[in-house]
């Protein structure tokens, strides 16, 4: 796993209003507010990623309960990628990015501090949100991961990509 606090380009730089006609569309976000994890599709990466994300969430002021929820959701999202998007094949890329566009208005209609996490894979493009709906039965296997994401994060969006899937999760303080 390669990870660290890195700078990058993001449309969520709070210094730049998203809809400003004069500002450039992208500006570097503060490195202290962005974590990028370049991972491989192997289950040994789950705990590394979870702990790195939890540490990042802590550094952004999220309390212990929220840290645990965020870590669990990243774990579940990655496990879904490994099991379903990559069908258990190891060594495939997973990119997890966490960032905190903290300023009000940095995200359209976003009133306050928020942690944005994206999980990008280059797998089979299966959209978990489009699986046939069935009533959740705790005694049947499967489904708990998605229940966690939807129950613990404020927003969960799967965006199909030409070559895989992008999951975006928002967690507000």
């Amino acid at each position: 796993m390669a990870f660290g606090f890195v700078s990058g380009l993001s449309p969520f730089d709070p210094a730049t209003p998203v809809n400003s006609p004069t500002a450039p569309p992208f500006r570097p976000i503060d490195p202290a507010r962005r974590l990028e994890l370049h991972l491989a599709s192997h289950t040994v990466e789950l705990s590394h990623a979870r702990k790195a994300i939890e540490q990042f969430a802590a550094s952004q002021g999220f309390d212990e309960t929220a840290q645990a929820q965020i870590g669990l959701c990243v774990n579940e999202a990655m496990a879904n990628v490994i099991r379903h998007a990559y069908s258990g094949v190891t060594g495939k890329p997973i990119l997890v990015i966490a960032e905190t566009p903290v300023a009000p208005g940095a995200v359209e209609n976003e009133p306050g501090p928020v942690l944005k996490i994206t999980v990008r894979d280059w797998g089979n493009g299966q959209n978990p949100a489009e699986l046939p709906p069935k009533p959740y039965n705790p005694l049947e296997p499967g489904g708990v991961g998605l229940i966690c994401l939807r129950g613990l994060m404020n927003e969960v969006t799967y965006t199909p990509q030409p070559d895989g899937m992008l999951l975006t999760m928002l967690k507000r303080k």
Binding site: T43, L46, E76, A79, L139, V144, C148, L152
Partner: protein
Amino acid sequence: MNPSIPLTSGTDLVPSARQEGTAVIAAIRGEIDLHNSPELRTAMLDVLLRGDPKKLILNLDQVPYMDSSAVAVLVEALQKLRRVGGKVFLTNLQPRVKGLLEIARLDTIFIVVKDEAEALSK
């Protein structure tokens, strides 16, 4: 009082297991996710096969974290016990594990008790 018969699990994830009458009491240890939950599943199925319990008591005192794949192992054990009219008790839940069971709506399906003694008395 029933004699306590040790059961070996062959994995550090289940550092101790013993049989007391028709009950099997096992401790689980470690952070459990998709990486090691298959190992936990093998150990649990082995303990269930050899102990053939009507009551399974799992002490989760040393489990600070588990994900949905670990929950699936617990549910599989529960299903096996239910088929023979048995019950599964979970003791000493840590906050993260408790939170996961709650959101998965499993906190009312397993019997959650304070400790092993309470589970044995039920």
